[in-house]
Each structure stands twice: as C-alpha cells, then as structure tokens.
C-alpha cells in the first residue's frame, strides 16, 4: 500500500495516474481538511470531495473540483435571493454536502462520514481526513482575516496577504486511521500540492511528522523557479515565512523526506533532488510520473 498526502489539485493529478497503475485498494489518501467550512447549512470539504470524486469517476477534471455535468439551479437562485455562495456549489455536489452535514450533525466523526460517502460512491481507495477535529486556514490581509477558500475562490487570490494562520479550539490530532495508514504503507508520497495550505495542515496534526520520520517518504515540489505549477502557493509561502521555491518547500519537509523530486525545468539547485517532468498537464503525463515513482518505491 502507498499513502498519499493530498490537497488542492497537485496530488489528485498524480492520483489520476496512480489509479490506473495500482489496485485502488492499495491506495490510501490523507486529505487536508483545513479548507472545510459550513456553507448554506451543509458541510463543504473541497479537498475530500476532489479525491472522492476522482476515485468515483465523477470528478470534473477540467476544474479539478465539483462533479462533471452538474447543474447549478439552487446556487443560481440563491444569488437572486441575495445569498452569494463564495463557491459555485452544484446541485449534485450539494447533495454530498447535505449528506455529510447530516452525518456530522448526527455526531459521526468526519472519518466515518467520509467512509460512508466513499462506500456509497463505490470508492475502493481509503480516503482519510487528516483529523476529526476542526482546524481552519485563514489568511491575514489588510481587510482582516479571511477563510482561505474565500481568499482563493471568491477573491481569486488577488488580495495581498500578510500571513497565514490556523484556527482551532484544540490543536488538531491525526486520527488513528491516519497513523495506521502511514505505518502500514510501503511508502508515503507527498504530491505537488500547496505546501502551506494543503500539506502543512496535515503535517501539523499531532503524530503525523513522527510517523513520517519512520517511513520512506517521497515529496514532489510544486514549484518551478519561484512560480508554482498552479494556484496561490507563491504568495502563501512568503506569508508563511518561507521562500517561494523548491528550496522553501524542501525546508518544510526536510526532517522526514527521503527523496525530493523537482521539475526538470526548475532553475533552483537542490543537492540530492531527483529531476523529473512533474507538469501533469494531461493523463499521459500523470501516468508517466506515477510510473517512475512506483519504480522508485518498488525498485522494479
């Protein structure tokens, strides 16, 4: 089994390749939940949904979120009624939010709710939220702190940010399922997801770093030079006090990473890093990168 740490679109693009090469039951994905929020009465978990929809075969792989071919009847009428949802929630997507919201209201853990949804959607991979407690990424701007999803989706990342913070009632702790998945794996792969908003929240869950130090870990940089492959990583890295580059990314992972992968086009020199084509612009590129990583893990 291989365990992946996932958030945003970077790791899901790698999973698209892995999905074709591995028995899905041999895949576990630990997913960032620091972008979760209650929206319109129900529970939005963007990174969990992307991974679930990917394995269920219903992901809109044009945007890498939402359900392919979804409609927006409720969302559109809500806007006319003066309720602006900051993200376009599709009608089928909303059903998933409703189902999860009801399960959480009934006292289920997020891990259990996710397993129930995966079961219904025919997902055979193990999809695990990083924690069952609530932790949320906020970005500090001159207009005050805002939820990361609001910053990225509503304001399209066009607001200057001065810092990144996580809000929680109690410091998040990795679930037992997460630690077991890491320990039972042949290797752990951190895909090219945003280090600040997708991966660090997972690493900050108590128990994860320690478990990773005992594991074989491969990490893929999301940066080429000072620009991320996609998304708002550069500004976030600087706000996080890190250099927006592979060097900055490596510094977040260096205490546990065994193999660090950089893109062949990346001008930043990192001693010991493996150079590969990490730009997964299509299914074929995802497959190529997945194959090489599997070869590295299983040495065959």
């Amino acid at each position: 089994m291989i365990t992946f740490l996932s958030g945003g679109t970077g790791t899901p693009k790698l999973l698209r390749g892995m999905q074709e090469l591995l028995d899905e039951r041999e895949i576990a994905v630990i997913v960032n939940t620091a972008e979760d929020t209650w929206l319109s009465g129900n529970h939005l978990s963007p990174d969990l949904d992307t991974v679930m929809y990917l394995f269920a075969g219903i992901l809109d792989t044009g945007r890498w979120w939402g359900i392919r071919g979804d409609t927006y009847i409720t969302h559109d009428l809500l806007a006319r009624l003066g309720v602006e949802e900051f993200i376009a929630v599709g009608d089928q997507d909303r059903a998933v939010h409703v189902a999860r919201g009801e399960m959480l209201r009934d006292g289920m853990r997020l891990t259990e709710a996710t397993a129930a949804l995966c079961g219904k959607l025919g997902v055979k991979a193990t999809v695990l939220p990083m924690t069952d407690s609530v932790v949320t990424t906020y970005v500090r701007t001159r207009r005050g702190e805002m939820h990361f999803q609001e910053y990225w989706v509503k304001h399209r990342g066009e607001v200057a940010i001065e810092g990144v913070s996580r809000r929680f009632q109690e410091p998040p702790v990795a679930t037992a399922e997460v630690i077991q998945a890491i320990e039972a794996s042949d290797a752990v792969v951190i895909g090219p997801s945003n280090p600040v908003t997708s991966i660090s929240p997972i690493l900050e869950c108590a128990g994860v770093r320690e478990a990773l130090r005992r594991q074989h870990v491969i990490a893929i940089s999301p940066f080429i030079g000072d620009a991320p492959v996609s998304g708002p990583a550069a500004a976030l890295m600087r706000a996080f006090g890190k250099e927006a580059s592979s060097t900055g990314t490596y510094s977040l992972y260096e205490d546990f990473v065994d193999l660090f992968i950089q893109d062949t086009r990346d001008a930043v020199e990192l001693p010991g890093a493996l150079r590969l084509d990490t730009l997964m612009v299509n299914r074929g590129k995802s497959l190529d990168l997945a194959k090489i990583i599997l070869t590295l893990i299983y040495r065959c």
Binding site: S40, G41, N42, D70, T71, I73, T74, H75, D76, L77, L78, R80, L81, G82, V83, G90, D91, Q92, R94, A95, V96, V98, A99, G101, E102, M103, R105, A116, L117, K120, L121
Partner: protein, 302 residues
C-alpha cells in the same frame, strides 16, 4: 385589507380566487408554522413557502406546494450518497429554504426573514408567520414523534395518530406584526384548512383568539359530510378529539367566528351557517367563492 389564516392547500386555493378581486397589497396572509422543520440544513416552512410561491406566481398549483417546473437534482442524488430526504425538495425550493436559514442564522426573526424574502421576490401581499416562537407540532404515533410535515408528506396513510404534541416549553405567541395586521383588517378569513393541522396552531398562539373576537371573522369549513376526507386529515382531527365534519370545525373555532361557511351539499347542519359551493376544484370556483365571501364582508363591515 383582508387577512387570511392559511395552512395546507385549501386556503391558498381560495386566495388565488381572491387575487382576481383584490390587489395583492390589500391581502395579508398569516401562515401556520406548526409544520416548520429543519431539513438538510435549511429551513422548511411549508405554509409560508406556499404563500410566497403563490404571490410570486411560481406555485405549482397542481399539487399546491413547491415551485412550478422545479428540478430535483440534489434530492435525487442524495440517496446515491446517503439515506435521502423524507420528502421531495426541489432545487429552487431548496434555495428559498437555504436563504431563509441564512437570514435566521444572521439573527433575524422569522417574520423579518420572510419579509426580506417577499421583498426580494417582489411580492405585494403581506405574508406573516403566525408566530416567531417554536410552534412545531409532532405526531405521536405510539412508537415515535414524527414532525407533522414529515407525517403529512411521507408517513403511511395507516400510521396511527395518537396525539398532536408540542415540544417547545413556552406556548407560542402571536407577533406584533400579526396584531397590527389583524387590527388594520376589515375582516379575517379562516380558509378551508384542516383545523388540527393548519388553523388551530394559529388560533392557539397566545393573543390570537382575543384579537379575533374584536374582528369580523368568516370561516370556511374544509369538510363536507358525505365526501370522505383525506385519511390523514381525518386521523389528525380524531387525534384532537373531533370528527372531520363541519359541525366539529364550528365547535373548534367557537365564538370567534361571525359567519361560518359550509358547503351547500353538506348534510351535516351547523345552525346559522352560510351555505356556499366550497369545492375549489378550479380557478373559477375559487373566484366565485371569493366573490361571495367578499360580498358578505362588504355587507357586514360597511
């Protein structure tokens, strides 16, 4: 100004007829809230929604609930990912319910939230919840307490109805807006809604009966002897200790009613009642009944 006490499908059908005679701005609807419940994180208020949809011109007048031409993408997808919802919720109706939940979440009263919704849908009539308090009724089936609307929409017709119970610790009270509306009305019309399910929950709000005693009130019986009522309508009436008949309705409303209207073909006799055709099978019948009721009111209050 004419004020209607409304719940279920009978009163909205009558109001549709009244709209042919009066301007919307001359109509106030006091809606039953005993069926309100939270569904899928949003605020479902069937009798308020029916009134809103009616005056917004989008009510499905085939079923007398929901929005004409609505779709069910979320509702139909839910069973694929979880247990599904107890009754149909359309995608557009869901938006109205989510928007109301959002307004309530901001701390608005139900009355304020509904007023805001009416404004955003350019509704000329005044739609008022009977109360801002928790007035939810539950059906005691002997094995569980079903929310009234869930019973109505989803329960088997043979489900036993032992009692209608309220779980809120405080009895609900009418709002100031309801008081002002009734005091400013020439007359109040209690539409042909089931008393147990739709009308008594309004009359039972603290302050309502006293207010109506000082007002000219016309009540229309929803039941006609000789034609079997809906089995659930009957079960709910028996649960409050009365049969589903016009005399029972007259008894339940008591001394607040000035003119009691029962169907012209009803073999049961309510002494002093006005006999009219009360079946509202199509728009013309509704308009005809509306004309007759307006004539009674004009005669009485002029």
């Amino acid at each position: 100004m004419i004020t209607f006490l409304s719940g279920g499908t009978g009163t909205p059908a009558l109001i549709r007829g009244v709209r042919q005679i009066l301007y919307d701005s001359e109509i106030t609807v006091i809606a039953n809230t005993a069926e309100d419940l939270r569904v899928s994180g949003s605020h479902c208020a069937p009798d308020i929604d029916t009134a809103i949809f009616l005056f917004a011109g989008i009510l499905d007048t085939g079923r007398w609930w929901g929005i004409k031409g609505d779709t069910y993408a979320t509702h139909n997808y839910l069973p694929k990912v979880a247990g599904g919802e107890p009754f149909l919720v359309g995608d557009r109706a869901r938006a109205v319910q989510i928007a109301r939940a959002a307004l309530l979440g901001e701390g608005l009263t139900l009355t304020e939230a509904v007023e805001r919704q009416c404004r955003s849908l350019n509704i000329g009539a005044t739609i008022l919840p009977a109360t801002d308090d928790d007035a939810a009724l539950f059906v005691d089936t002997g094995t569980e307490h079903l929310p009234l609307y869930k019973y109505w929409m989803a329960a088997d017709a043979a489900t036993e109805v032992r009692e209608l119970i309220r779980t809120a610790s405080q009895p609900p009270a009418i709002t100031d807006e309801v008081r002002v509306a009734v005091e400013a009305s020439d007359a109040v019309v209690i539409g042909p809604g089931n008393p147990a399910r739709s009308i008594l929950p309004i009359l039972d709000c603290a302050g309502m009966r006293r207010l109506l005693r000082d007002t000219f009130v016309v009540a229309v019986s929803p039941f006609r002897g000789g034609s079997a009522p809906d089995p659930k309508d009957a079960a709910l009436m028996y649960a409050i200790g009365e049969p589903p008949t016009a005399p029972a309705v007259a008894r339940l409303y008591g001394d607040i009613v000035d003119v009691f209207v029962q169907d012209i073909h009803d073999p049961d006799v309510v002494p002093g009642s006005l006999r009219l055709e009360t079946r509202l099978l199509h728009e013309q019948q509704a308009e005809s009944l509306a004309w007759d009721i307006m004539a009674v009111i004009r005669h009485a209050v002029s």
